[in-house]
Amino acid sequence: MIRNSILLLIIAGLAFIFYHELSAYHGNDGLNETANYYATKGLSEVGAANLVTSVVVTYRGLDTLGEVTILFLTAAILALMFKTSHSQKETQKRITSELLITASNVLLPVIFLVGIYIFINGHLTPGGGFQGGAVLASAMVLMLLSISGRKIKHAVLDFIEAISGIAFVLLGILGIFLAGGFLDNSIFSLGTFGELFSAGAIPVIYSFIGLKVGAELSNIILVLNQTQNVEK
């Protein structure tokens, strides 16, 4: 009881802090200087219709690189953590309903396509690499559900992950030589505004991000799926 009241007191204190923060909130009347810059100059500099994409991929591209790295790390750590389990893998056959298999066989290509569409069009419409990647990963979930027992090779995923990661970095470096700096998207022509192949390197980069995120998330799920709890 005493413990709980102390904890409650702490939460009350935090609420007090947050109250101060909240009371400073008064809505927005317009864009601030930074956002204004993106809204006005963003189009000519980056050429992506989706301003969020131009911020994510270009202006704050380093953040995005970092965030992809975090997923990469997570996948690596999980693989490392459950490493000992892999060697003693016992293949557990589970009976999967015929319906699910058929459905997945039909659905899988569609889902893959949707995912790819989402990240390729990230500079035009809502969505992009992360969302597309998540969709790809959900395909992986479906695959695992339907074809349990069949091994899905880590190697393939790792390969996709590594290649897209390196491509991301290389594109970034190209920016230093061909354009204004690391991760500058104008290494390719900005193209016609609103078209698929516009906004310079954004579609390319976002595709790699999508592939990478998809591969990483799939890897995470795969590791968790394949762990067979052998350690006592």
Binding site: I6, L7, I10, I11, G13, L14, F16, I17, H20, E21, S23, A24, Y25, N32, E33, T34, Y38, K41, E45, T58, Y59, R60, G61, L62, D63, L65, G66, E67, T69, I70, F72, L73, A76, I77, A79, L80, M81, K83, T84, A155, D158, F159, E161, A162, I163, G165, I166, V169, L170, I173, G175, I176, A179, G180, G181, F182, L183, D184, N185, S186
Partner: protein, 1042 residues
């Protein structure tokens, strides 16, 4: 210059690439990683050199083809270059150290390592607050992936605690960042600082959230249990990265963000930092687990560095220097210690005794410990000095007090640990596996400490210049430590001789200094002679002996307080190692170190107080000290710890008695004079005889008198010959203190005479007794007896020694007494004088015991064949005896110039001693050493002749011609006449020798340990409680700020 963006690109690119390689290419993976990690070292060190050579504008890396604040930019300036260099060097060697561990973990672990180093680099360089957040997360996560390398329950639970703690902290950071963007309109650090002057309530809360989050990343006390658990559970190689690498980056992140909060947050940083420094070190004192202890220490050091950042306004242009010095010490030493811990591969600090088997590693361990504590010539010494001086100029005395107190706590556990490593018996069968990939990083960091020390000395303000010749000589002795002892001994003696010749012209005019230089250098040479009797290499002895002498002579040479303090600490360091070399001296050396540390910090604080408002730190500055009362008292107390005044004496008997035979005379006859010299410097600064009625002097006079009585009393009841001499030293130093406290011309002469005498006879006695002990292998006097026939020369030496000690005419001890009575009468301190006089009569008792028990009476069977002491012990004894004779016969040779100096100086113009050839006279009487010598000598010859004639007919009985009757006692030793020799006196006066002081200090020790023990119970080990600590910490700091 290579753009720092390539650090990110290369590390990350290779990390991604390595994902492709599977087990078969495993070795290749790690090899590639080593090459990859060398690249950022190359880049950042390149920039560092660039900025050091040419302090140019920082280099900015822009990304995305847009300018900040609209895109993320990185900055590479001098500070960034230094910090990234540190991190990258650590990364490189840390990887080499972890090579085998990583191999066992597979290629994913290598990837984590690369990404971690990359993340830390960006955290340091980025100028965008959200980017900072992302890369802080990256480095935390990469670390979390490495904490569980041991794969036991502890490491997993520690990793989980770390994970949840970091996540909570970053939640607050994220909210703060959101509102900073909302209210400040930018995410760019420079932009925000430039455009936001006044903080509104909402903005200040947002800034609060951001800053408290980054501060919490530094693990402030007491919201840091999660980090401690990690230190305890993780692989030491990882701990090194956390302590030296992650903390470095987080510290720099705080440094970048602190300007957000203005001056207010500078103060917060100071408070948080110092509470952490103090609290963490305090809790460390009762910690037994080595890695966890290092964790406490590490967190404490980071707290200190944080406080230094908070002090940046006070430090002004010195900030970079102070920060560099303190940082590099922590960085190199802590990484080295964690790495060492990995080699030991055991948990308890007592297990480190195994280091004894590998002297080189032991040397490195000592090096790291001394670097951390801040001994010269290591960088943190310079850093602490400048920090304390600048704080003093701004009246921040409480802060200084806290810093010094924290440093003492740090010393308490570090020196206990060092003592264990040096002296405890290693466990049976334990050993250290020497892997080269682990040794190399440790050794490299050890070397870097020397490099950093040199560099710190270079960038230190030039007028503080330290004479480094003795230091280099000590280093040289370390290098040639593989040679046999006699060669090193010769080199050491030659070095000291040369140095005496070298400095003679500088101090020729200043007789006072000349006397002390003579005691230190010539005395040093004499005591070194005894070292020739040691066979073999005697590893580690000579460098430290010379270090002690270098410190002592440095005191004499010092022209300013910095040089003085430098020398003082150097002397402490050397003598500590000398003392701990003794057989059972682990506890005594520890006590010695703690008292020395406490004393040194009192001196430090005294200097700091005196310094306020001055621009000069010359010794003369003390004359016009600010806060003279406090400053002088602290200085006096500090020096008294070294002279072992009653109350501070408990380290001395053990330390002197247990030391090696030839070390005892060094630390007794010579080392104690260092403290005396300090007192003289202080007393002169107080203004000589004008300060005669100063209450401090009055108190010191009493203290001296009581010390004299107490020391002598305790000496009487000793059974251990060396311990007896040691207590006698306590008493003698009491006389000296008493005499100097008169603050009169003649009082000082008395004090100096006592000092010279004490040097002569105590060195002589310790050498003589040391020679005896060398042969009979015991300290207990009741086990000796009758050695006069076997060791006649030693007997003569002891006889001369005790005659001088007891002040019996004709030897120079009597000269001291004569001066003493004059001084007492002139001054009028009759009552104290009576006490000292009484103490003098007690001295007769133990003098008698010493010579009687050892040399007279029945010899023991086992010592029938014992030989005379080694010739190398006897030679210096004879030189000393000649010295005593000369000084007794012609005291004017030394006393007259000193007297002239004193009376001609501004300090002691009145009532000098007047000399007429060899006859000295005051208005109370006259005395001529020469004539007394003749008279007494004549009487002696007459008496001797008479005795010879009278005893010619006496039968020469064989020494063993006595027949016992009755039963054989069970414990024959206790029937020896000298066992409990003065039992009747003990009944009468024994109550005075109850170890009140020892009990007192034990009480202090126990109480603080008990407090620390009960307080660290807040680290319950429950991850949830740690989270509650963090949240409560946030709330409390917020409420305080309100």
């Amino acid at each position: 210059m290579v753009s720092p963006i390539y650090i990110i690109a290369v590390l990350l690119g290779i990390a991604f690439l390595l994902g492709l390689f599977k087990q078969p290419g495993a070795n290749f993976v790690r090899f590639a990683a080593v090459i990859t990690l060398a690249f950022p070292v190359f880049v950042s060190v390149g920039w560092l050199i660039h900025f050091i050579i040419d302090p140019a504008e920082p280099f900015m890396v822009y990304t995305a083809g847009a300018l900040p604040p609209f895109s993320i930019n990185l900055k590479m300036g001098l500070e960034e270059a230094f910090m990234t260099s540190a991190v990258n060097v650590l990364g490189f060697f840390g990887f080499i150290y972890l090579y085998k561990t990583l191999k066992a973990q597979g290629e994913k672990a290598v990837v984590l390592f690369l990404v971690l180093i990359m993340g830390l680099n960006v955290v340091i360089m980025t100028r965008d607050i959200f980017n900072l957040f992302v890369f802080l997360e990256i480095s935390s996560i990469a670390l979390i992936g490495m904490i569980f390398f041991k794969r036991d329950l502890n490491s997993f639970s520690a990793g989980f605690k770390y994970l949840i703690a970091v996540t909570v902290i970053s939640s607050f950071l994220l909210i703060g960042i959101g509102f900073i963007y909302y209210l400040g309109g930018t995410l760019n650090i420079d932009d925000f600082i430039a455009n936001n002057n006044g903080l509104t309530r909402g903005l200040s809360t947002a800034v609060f959230l951001v800053l408290i989050a980054v501060l919490l990343e530094l693990k402030p006390f007491p919201a840091n249990g999660w980090a401690l658990d990690v230190y305890q559970a993780a692989h030491p190689g990882i701990n090194a990265i956390i302590s030296a690498g992650t903390a470095t980056a987080a510290l720099f992140a705080v440094y970048k963000l602190l300007p957000f909060g203005g001056d207010l947050w500078l103060n917060i940083a100071v408070i948080i930092g110092l509470i952490t420094f103090l609290g963490s070190n305090f809790l460390g004192i009762s910690q037994k687990n080595a890695n966890r202890l290092l964790g406490y220490s590490s967190i404490g050091q980071i707290g200190l560095l944080l406080a230094v950042m908070g002090f940046s306004k006070h430090l002004g242009e010195h900030f970079q220097m102070v920060f560099f010095a303190l940082f590099i010490s922590h960085f190199l030493a802590k990484a080295g210690l964690f790495w060492l811990s990995g080699l030991i591969a055991k948990d308890e600090i007592k297990d480190w005794a195994v280091l004894r088997k590998k002297p080189h590693l032991l040397f490195l361990f000592g090096l790291f410990v001394f670097t951390l504590i801040g001994f010269p010539p290591f960088p943190s010494f310079y850093g602490k000095w400048q920090l304390v001086m600048d704080l003093a100029s701004n009246y921040n005395y409480w802060w200084i007090g806290l810093i010094l107190l924290g440093s003492i706590f740090e010393g308490v556990y570090l020196f206990r640990w060092l003592g264990y490593a040096m002296k405890l018996e290693p466990e049976e069968g334990s050993s250290i596996k020497l892997d080269w990939e682990k040794i190399i990083p440790i050794a490299v960091f050890g070397l870097l400490i020397f490099l950093a020390s040199y560099f710190t000395n270079e960038i230190f303000p030039s007028n503080f210049n330290i004479n480094l010749i003795p230091v280099y000589f000590v280093l040289f002795l370390f290098v040639i430590d593989f040679l046999p002892a006699y060669i090193k001994n010769t080199i050491a003696i030659a070095g000291m001789g040369f140095y005496a010749y070298y400095i003679y012209p500088d101090i020729e005019q200043d007789t006072l200094r000349l006397v002390f230089a003579g005691i230190f250098l010539l005395g040093g040479i004499l005591t070194m002679f005894a070292g020739y009797s040691v066979k073999g290499r005697r590893p580690g002895f000579f460098p430290f002996a010379i270090m002690m002498y270098a410190g002592l002579i440095g005191l004499v040479e010092a022209e300013n307080l910095f040089q003085f303090f430098f020398a003082w600490e150097l002397m402490t360091l050397g003598s500590y190692i000398l003392i701990i070399r003794g057989k059972k001296s682990i506890l005594h050396a520890y006590n010695y170190m703690l008292f020395s540390l406490g004393g040194a910090y009192m001196i430090f604080m005294g200097i700091a107080l005196a310094y306020n408002g001055h621009t000069s730190i010359s010794l003369e500055m003390l004359q016009t000290a600010s806060f003279p009362g406090w400053a002088y008292t602290l200085l006096a107390l500090g020096f008294l710890t070294k002279t072992a005044a009653l109350g501070f004496h408990i380290w001395l008997p053990g330390a002197h008695a247990e030391a090696e035979s030839d070390v005892s005379p060094m630390v007794s006859g010579i080392l104690l004079k260092g403290g005396v010299f300090g007192l003289l410097v202080l007393f002169m600064a107080m203004g000589g005889e004008q300060a005669g009625e100063h209450p401090l002097l009055y108190a010191l006079g009493w203290l001296g008198a009581i010390t004299a009585l107490g020391g002598n009393l305790m000496a009487v009841f000793q059974e251990d010959a060396k311990r007896l001499l040691a207590y006698s030293s306590v008493g003698n130093l009491g006389y000296i203190l008493f005499a100097f406290a008169f603050m009169t011309n003649i009082g000082w002469l008395t004090g100096l005479t006592y000092s010279i005498n004490h040097f002569l006879f105590k060195t002589l006695l310790f050498l003589a007794i040391g020679g005896v002990v060398w042969r009979v292998k015991t300290h207990n006097m009741y086990e000796m007896g009758g050695l006069i026939k076997r060791m006649p020369w030693s007997f003569i030496a002891v006889l001369i020694g005790i005659i001088t000690l007891a002040g019996i005419p004709p030897l120079s001890g009597y000269a001291g007494k004569w001066l003493f009575y004059n001084a007492v009468i002139t001054k009028g301190w009759y009552f104290q004088g009576a006490i000292v006089f009484f103490a003098g009569t007690i001295a007769f008792l133990y003098c008698f015991k010493l010579i009687y028990s050892i040399f007279l009476g029945q010899p023991k069977d086992k010592f029938r064949k014992v030989k005379e002491a080694p010739i190398w012990y006897l030679i210096p004894q004879f030189i000393l005896m000649i010295g005593i004779m000369v000084f007794s016969a012609r005291p004017d040779l030394i006393l007259k110039p000193i007297g002239d100096l004193l009376s001609q100086s501004a300090y002691f113009p009145t009532d000098p001693l007047s000399w007429e050839n060899v006859t000295a006279s005051t208005n109370l009487g006259y005395w001529s050493g020469y004539k007394i010598m003749l008279v007494i000598g004549g009487m002696f010859v007459v008496l001797l002749a008479w005795l010879m004639i009278m005893s010619r007919k006496a039968k020469n009985v064989k020494q063993f011609n006595i027949v016992y009757a009755g039963e054989r006692p069970f414990t024959p030793e206790t029937t020896h006449y000298s066992h409990n020799m003065f039992a009747p006196f003990n009944k009468a006066l024994g109550f005075l020798t109850t170890p009140v002081v020892t009990d007192f200090w034990n009480g202090v020790n126990d109480t603080s340990h008990a407090f620390a023990d009960s307080f660290r119970k807040i680290y319950t080990g429950n991850g949830q409680t740690y989270i509650a600590h963090i949240l409560a910490y946030i709330v409390i700091v917020y409420l305080i700020l309100l």
